[in-house]
């Protein structure tokens, strides 16, 4: 578990009129849990979008597992083992919970374009689907439509779907947003357990969770990297405190 | 004189082949479901109507395609009828409701044909050229009828002895509950049996349309003669029908020739009654030991 899972150098993204991400250099160690924090509008989600190539960077380079991915498209990034969950819980609403996870598993079946076989050949995946759903506590909801799930469960479903890809790098965009304190505990445990042998990068506002979970914390402010280090170091940094005071109490 | 007898025998055998095929279609359904489909004759006539409406004067290719269409359509109709017939058997104690429902289906089909086509007999051009046998011109459809009988006999035999579904259908006829306990998809097999029987009568009706009178009320005649053939051969015995059918056919032709056409059915009835009275298991039927 040596080396860097993600490296960016001079990552910049400018929209018309403003620069969302400005010359950010991040390095995420393989196997660590890495948190990206910062006040609202600091550009955290943009960084995620850049990492997964949902947005093309204006300039700068991104290396994933040592490979330059600047030319790749989003789905190719996903195939490199980078998997991402979305800020707003993102499931396939009209599919059942079971199907949601199965769609993710299907990819490894190499039948993206298999339109001539019946879907019964997908039943080989059922066992794994049930395992994953059980792992996130959705075992009883397999036949429900995803849109019927309460918010917290949607998150769990999303994580199950993400895990189905067996990613090496997991990008979690505010995994705790909208969760009650009970759920937060559960999801924290879940993240810790899935982080075994994986690299996790998360954006999170709940600093307690960050303190508890993360090995390394990077602070973004107005598109720039303010500071990074362990949570203890970072939280002691006056610049960070100031940045947060200005916003988090708004 | 000799040629007259030859004509009678050849035509009798050919007409009897039709009866034999209908009898075989009885057998397969009866084996799988214990049902004797009284509507089978009307399904046969539907095949004839299909020939009239779809393939009258058509080329061989289209004729063949329409044969398949007619066969499949009638197979679907018969298996749907089978489904309806089987429905009440699941719940009611009365297990011979099929007798009533198949008779009523027969009445319904006949009535619909009568209402839509009127009480007329339609004639259909033959696709097969007539041929000479012993110096006698014989319509080609007679040859087709004999061919169909042999074809269906062989096909059924292969199916019932060598395919899984065929074996399963035989199993159904032997012990229904055991078949269910063994997980055989009973209802589907029964419907399959119905479908096969429909395919048989539909295709044969289509084939022989040129030599029968395609009219709404002809169905009853064929269901009865088919039944006589089945009884003569022994119900459940397909090989028996190969003899029984032609036998009945020859008797019917002979009667028509010697006594008069109106007595054809009477002759069949007499054959039926005498067989039933003297040898109810049929000529080839085996007395099966039953549990007492």
């Amino acid at each position: 578990m040596d080396g860097w899972a993600i490296e960016t150098s001079g990552l910049t993204k400018s929209f018309v009129g403003f620069v969302a991400v400005n010359n950010v250099n991040l390095r995420v160690r393989k196997g660590s849990i890495f948190a990206l924090i910062g006040p609202n509008g600091a550009g955290k989600t943009t960084v995620f979008n850049l990492l997964t190539k949902f947005l093309p960077p204006t300039s700068g380079r991104i290396m994933i597992n040592g490979q330059d991915v600047s030319a790749l498209k989003p789905h190719a990034i996903a195939r490199l083992g980078v998997s991402r969950s979305f800020q707003i819980s993102s499931v396939f609403p009209q599919l059942t919970v079971h199907e949601n996870v199965r769609v993710a598993l299907q990819r490894k079946n190499r039948d993206d374009f298999n339109f001539w076989q019946t879907d019964r050949c997908l039943s080989v995946l059922d066992e794994r689907v049930e395992e994953l759903l059980a792992a996130v506590g959705l075992g009883d909801y397999a036949r429900h439509q995803a849109s019927d799930l309460p918010y917290g469960r949607k998150r769990a479903l999303e994580i199950a779907t993400t895990l189905a890809l067996d990613p090496s790098i997991l990008l979690l965009d505010e995994p705790m947003a909208g969760l009650g304190s009970e759920d937060i505990k559960g999801v924290s445990a879940l993240i810790r357990s899935v982080a075994q042998g994986r690299t996790v990068v998360m954006v999170e506002h709940n600093l307690r969770v960050v303190a508890e979970l993360c090995d390394w914390v990077a602070v973004l402010q107005r598109g720039q990297l303010l500071t990074e280090g362990s949570y203890a170091d970072v939280s002691a940094n006056p610049a960070v405190i100031e940045a947060y005071m200005g916003n988090s109490h708004a | 004189m000799l040629s007259e007898i030859l004509i009678i025998v050849i035509r009798g055998i050919a007409i009897g082949s039709i009866f034999a095929t209908i009898a075989m279609s009885f057998n397969i359904v009866h084996g799988a479901t214990n049902i004797f489909n009284f509507a089978q004759g009307n399904m046969f006539i539907l095949g004839g109507f299909a020939a009239y409406f779809l393939a009258n004067g058509a080329g061989i290719g289209m004729w063949a395609m329409m044969l398949i269409v007619a066969g499949l359509a009638i197979a679907a109709l018969v298996s749907f009828q089978g489904y309806i017939t089987l429905l009440p058997l699941r719940s009611s104690v009365e297990q011979d409701s099929w007798l009533i429902s198949t008779v009523s289906v027969s009445v319904i089909v006949g009535a619909i044909l009568m209402i839509t086509q009127g009480p007329f007999a339609y004639s259909v051009q033959s696709i097969a050229p007539s041929f000479r046998i012993f110096g006698t011109r014989t319509p080609g459809a007679y040859g087709l009828a004999i061919f169909a009988m042999i074809f269906w006999y062989v096909a059924l035999r292969l199916f019932l002895k060598h395919t899984y579904s065929g074996l399963a259908i035989s199993a159904l006829s032997q012990d229904f509950d055991a078949a269910r306990a063994a997980g055989l998809p009973v209802r589907r097999l029964q419907l399959l049996a119905f479908a096969i029987s429909g395919l048989m009568v539909g295709s044969v009706g289509f084939l022989v349309a040129p030599v029968i009178s395609v009219s709404p009320d002809a169905g009853l005649k064929y269901v009865l003669n088919g039944f006589v053939a089945a009884v003569v051969g022994g119900i459940g015995s397909n090989i028996g029908t190969l003899i029984g059918g032609p036998l009945v056919g020859v008797v019917a032709m002979l009667t028509a020739y010697k006594v008069g056409g109106a007595y054809q059915d009477v002759a069949s009835l007499l054959v039926l009654v005498s067989i039933l009275v003297f040898r109810p298991q049929g000529i080839f039927g085996r007395v099966t030991a039953r549990r007492v």
Partner: protein, 599 residues
């Protein structure tokens, strides 16, 4: 008639007992009579010629359907040809009266005779075959009949038909009611009553049993063939009278009037109305015939289609017919369903206790088989068996499966014939006797699979034994019968457990007062305590009532416990025979049953 069978259970009795009546036949008959009266007299009082004519025909059809109902359910004969029977009679009368000027009454008798003849013709194949075979035969007869009428124009006037006028029947006698109107009103009512009475009678029960289980019937001494003949004859005569009445009502006969459609009307009416229900045919004709032909007369083209669809609909939605469905609801609502639990051996034993006197087996031979051989194809089921059973003894017949026990039993009861050898009952050579004749020699048997008729009440099921009794029975049995009648008169037989069903069979032989009783594996499937009770019963039958018992049984403990003598069969041969101790010591027998006697 014995004292016991004189006391028919009637409706009043059923009502006083708390149980719901087993069926509502009597009520239905009453309603039916009222309805027929209405359709018969109503239109006359209303004075509409069209309605009078129509409903006279309706009443005739009702009568014909009632006989169809009787034939179809009570006698179990599937006839699709009743229309032809009606036609035979109508044509017969018309030919005699209309063409040859024979007086009407004589002509009518001739017509009825023709119908009866036709019925007997139907019965001919029915001697050998049942069910759909018969359906096909009768249906083809119904198809052939009009063809023949046309072809035989020398006698029938062919396609032109025969016109008939009988003014005497048409002139009103009182209130505008003509004799004809009276006749066509009274006859269906009579038909209904006759149907009811037959059903309540021994004849009716015998017909019913014959149709459902010919073997059981034969072993009870009933000739199923005779019953079928009788049924067809009764139905034919009844339908024949309908045909006679048809003539003055329609005043014209032609071949088209008697095509298969007519037969279908009767048959479908019974189905739609309710198979086996007294009221069924009346309601059925109302729906099948009156609805399309009278109320929806503008769609008369479609009437055949309507017949078919109505019947199909009835089979799908009301499999028991309209009346049948109502009846089913009624019995479902009222089922008491606890009475049959009291049906236990110990109860009967208690009841019978002390009625007999102690008896011992005599040396007289009741049953003897000499060198009996029975083959089924290549399989020799019974192979040169010699067997002697003494009067009053309990004789165990044991052996492995397929050793020929049941085959031997079937031979002894006449259900199958020996290929070689002979057997004697009470010294009479009965080798070639038919089953019913043997049964009437006071021989009774039970079957491995009990013959229980769920359409009959439990008492009626038992009563079959009483019906089969030859001569007058003992007082003790009569008393038992009376007790059973009050106890089980309205209980359902289909709720009995397997063991109880066996018991019904056993009790039948008791009521039959057979002197020789053959039990075919009676204890199979009985519990230990039931088995003990059964052993007591057998002992009682033998030691107190002096009956000869032949017991085919697997349960060696039971056999060894009660049998006086035991015969061991193996592969159709007698291996050993003698008293239990001797047989047990037989080396061959020990070898066969080694290790099996600790159950």
């Amino acid at each position: 008639m014995t004292a016991a069978s004189n006391t028919y259970p009637n409706a009043q009795q059923g009502e006083t007992a708390k149980k719901a009546r087993f069926n509502s036949d009597l009520t239905q008959v009453k309603i039916g009579l009222v309805l027929i009266l209405l359709t018969g007299i109503g239109p006359v009082l209303a004075g509409n010629e069209y309605w009078i004519h129509t409903f006279q025909l309706v009443n005739i059809y009702i009568a014909a359907s009632i006989f169809q109902n009787f034939l179809f359910i009570d006698a179990g004969q599937k006839s699709f040809g009743q229309g032809a029977i009606l036609g035979l009679s109508a044509y017969g009368t018309a030919i005699l009266f209309g063409l040859h000027g024979v007086p009407f009454v004589l002509a009518a008798l001739g017509g009825i005779a023709a119908a009866a003849l036709g019925g007997l013709l139907f019965a001919l194949p029915a001697l050998r075959v049942q069910g759909f075979h018969l359906g096909f035969v009768t249906m083809s007869a119904a198809i052939v009949f009009p063809q023949l009428l046309v072809t035989l124009d020398r006698w029938t006037n062919g396609i032109n038909g025969i016109s008939v006028r009988i003014p005497a029947l048409m002139t009103p006698i009182a209130f505008g009611i003509s004799p004809l109107a009276l006749l066509v009103t009274i006859f269906p009512m009579l038909a209904l009553i006759v149907h009811y009475l037959i059903r309540r009678s021994r004849l009716g029960r015998n017909m019913f049993v014959s149709s459902l289980s010919p073997e059981a019937a034969r072993s009870l001494g009933i000739k199923p063939g005779l019953m079928r003949f009788a049924a067809f004859l009764i139905a034919a005569i009844g339908t024949g009278i309908c045909g006679v009445l048809y003539l003055p009502v329609v005043a014209f006969v032609s071949p088209q009037g008697f095509n298969i459609e007519l037969s279908f009307v009767f048959f479908f009416a019974v189905v739609v109305g309710g198979r086996g229900q007294m009221l069924g045919p009346i309601i059925g004709v109302a729906i099948i015939y009156v609805l399309p032909n009278v109320l929806l007369a503008q769609f008369v083209e479609y009437r055949l289609l309507m017949y078919g669809c109505l019947t199909m609909g009835a089979v799908m939605l009301f499999p028991d017919g309209i009346v049948g469905s109502i009846e089913r609801l009624r019995s479902k609502k009222n089922h008491g369903g606890t009475g049959e639990r009291a049906f236990r051996i110990d109860g009967f034993l208690a009841q019978l206790a002390g009625t007999g006197t102690a008896k011992e087996p005599t040396e007289e031979i009741a049953v003897e088989v000499r060198n009996g051989t029975k083959r089924f194809g290549a399989v020799v089921a019974v192979d040169g068996v010699n067997l002697k059973v003494r009067k009053g003894e309990i004789h165990g017949l044991i052996g492995a499966n397929g050793s020929g026990k049941t085959s031997l039993l079937n031979v002894l009861t006449g259900l199958s014939r020996l290929n070689d050898g002979s057997f004697y009952i009470n010294g009479v050579d009965t080798t070639d006797y038919p089953a019913d004749k043997i049964a009437n020699m006071q021989l009774g048997r039970t079957f491995q699979a009990p013959r229980i008729f769920s359409q009959m009440s439990l008492w009626d099921n038992l009563r079959l034994g009483l019906d089969a009794r030859n001569g007058k029975g003992s007082d003790a049995i009569d008393a038992l019968a009376r007790a059973m009648e009050t106890e089980f008169g309205h209980d359902r037989a289909d709720l009995l457990s397997h063991g109880q069903r066996r018991l019904v069979e056993v009790m039948r032989t008791v009521l039959k007062e057979s002197t020789i009783v053959l039990f075919d594996e009676p204890a199979a499937g009985l519990s230990k305590s039931e088995r003990n009770n059964f052993a007591d019963l057998v002992r009682f039958l033998s030691r107190q009532l002096g009956k000869t018992v032949i017991l085919v049984e697997h349960d060696l403990d039971l056999v060894w416990g009660i049998a006086d003598r035991i015969t061991v069969l193996d592969q159709g041969r007698v291996v050993s025979s003698g008293n239990p101790e001797a047989v047990a010591k037989d080396a061959a027998v020990q070898h066969m049953f080694v290790g099996a006697r600790h159950a």
